[in-house]
């Protein structure tokens, strides 16, 4: 089910969602009560029901819903409009292909008489043509569709925030060694007790569980333009990413992540 289809639902639907759009995993459920003023009315106890634009819901909903109804469910009644819209796009594509298909016999005769080199060039041009068509169709779809990436300025911001750890530049152990005696500020995202047990020389501890006030106090003297290198215990630890999201919200932008973290550093260095 898509949010296009959901907006036509006359039933209550329990939605499988992320707690917030900048999370990666779907670990939460909310109740879709209906559509009001073109927005989804969601109920997430104990909070009162609230209105959420459908394009925002699309970013944090897995597309899975459990319909709640006392009477037998007529799914077609509300799935049809969304599917019709989607099938319109597909039908346009099929129509174009069918029109081109009419010339198939002439095309085959032409193909059979061509040299292999010319056939290869032709295949390349067809491949390029398909790629351009694919990009064009994607642009049109995401521009024309209310839940598309291009329909709203901040449509993909939450996905970017959710994957900030994958998108930020990474530094390795050798680069960390070079940066240690520079202006770069090292942030240790582990819990305080782990920080006390050992950390990079000069690092500041901003634990993942620190409150906004605690974080503000610790980073009071650090300029927003500083280059920050954030690390955790190891590549499997996600604290560095969580702290990065908070620091980006605080206004820091020049951030790198040392994925190997304290585990990789301490394996070869006595700090």
């Amino acid at each position: 089910m898509t949010s296009q289809e959901l907006r036509h639902s006359p039933y209550l639907v329990i939605l499988h969602v992320k707690t917030s759009a900048d999370q990666k995993d779907y670990k939460h459920y909310e109740l879709f009560v209906g559509t009001k003023d073109g927005q989804a009315k969601l109920y997430d106890p104990p909070n009162p029901p609230g209105l959420v634009p459908f394009h925002e819901l699309a970013q944090r909903w897995a597309g899975v819903g459990l319909i709640v109804s006392a009477s037998p469910v007529d799914a077609n009644a509300f799935l049809a409009p969304g599917r019709r819209r989607f099938m319109t796009y597909v039908a346009i594509v099929v129509a174009v292909i069918l029109v081109l298909h009419y010339g198939r016999r002439r095309w085959i005769a032409y193909w059979a008489g061509m040299s292999r080199r010319r056939r290869f060039v032709l295949a390349l041009s067809q491949c390029a043509g398909l790629t351009v068509l694919g990009l064009l169709a994607g642009f049109i779809y995401h521009f024309a569709n209310d839940e598309g990436f291009l329909a709203h300025g901040n449509a993909t911001t939450s996905v970017v925030r959710a994957h900030v750890g994958s998108l930020l530049p990474h530094v390795n152990k050798e680069e960390v060694a070079e940066l240690l005696n520079t202006e770069t500020v090292f942030i240790d995202a582990r819990y305080a007790r782990d920080f006390k047990a050992g950390h990079l020389a000069g690092a500041i501890n901003v634990p993942v569980n620190a409150s906004d006030d605690e974080r503000g106090k610790v980073l009071n003297g650090v300029s927003k333009d500083s280059h920050l290198v954030i690390y955790c215990q190891s590549a499997g630890c996600k604290f560095a990413e969580e702290v990065t999201k908070k620091l980006m919200a605080d206004g820091f932008s020049d951030i790198s992540i040392f994925k190997g973290g304290w585990g990789e550093w301490s394996a070869d260095n006595d700090t």
Binding site: L100, L130, A137
Partner: protein
């Protein structure tokens, strides 16, 4: 005698050509269904697919978005072309390139030890990148690239068979591939 041998060779060539055609048909239909099956959920749930792309850590924000917008539609076009038999050589070449890049991306993820979903088919986040998923992609890649090579060679093989049979007065006839 020479006449009979020439006819036998020609018939052998035609039989081979028929095998090739059957192979291409199977690859076309198999790949076509595969591309349709994988592209439609990605069009319907683009945000999940965008997240999958970012997790590969190979593209920046803009390029990732461009891929998330265009790739599912390219997959749809390629799938429809393969099934309908239109632009087969171009569609097979596109399949080969896409699968090659995908295999490279998966190998890169395995090399870096990233525990991420492969994003092969949306809605199956549990399908992590593994040697099994890489092997699967490589096998499909080999099938697609062989199909492309056969399509490039196929028509001339059939044409040569026809040309060598006709003067001998053989009764075999070939239809266009």
């Amino acid at each position: 005698m020479i006449h009979e041998r020439s006819t036998a060779n020609s018939l052998g060539g035609m039989k081979r050509s028929q095998w090739f055609r059957t192979y291409v048909l199977l690859v076309r239909l198999g790949l076509g269904c595969l591309f349709l099956w994988s592209s439609i959920p990605k069009i319907r749930q683009p945000y999940d697919f965008l997240g999958n792309i970012y997790e590969y850590e190979l593209f920046n924000i803009g390029l990732g978005m461009l891929i998330a917008m265009g790739l599912p539609w390219l997959g749809l076009f390629v799938g429809l072309c393969l099934i309908s038999g239109l632009f087969v050589s171009g569609a097979l070449l596109a399949s080969t390139v896409l699968l090659g890049i995908f295999a490279f991306a998966q190998a890169s993820v395995l090399g870096r030890g990233l525990p991420i979903g492969c994003g092969c088919f949306s809605g199956c986040g549990e399908d992590f990148v593994s040697y099994g998923s890489l092997l699967r992609v490589v096998l499909v890649f080999v099938a697609a690239s062989l199909g492309f090579v056969v399509v490039l060679l196929q028509s001339s093989t059939a044409a040569e068979s026809v040309a060598s049979v006709r003067p001998t007065g053989g009764t075999c006839s070939t239809s266009s591939p």
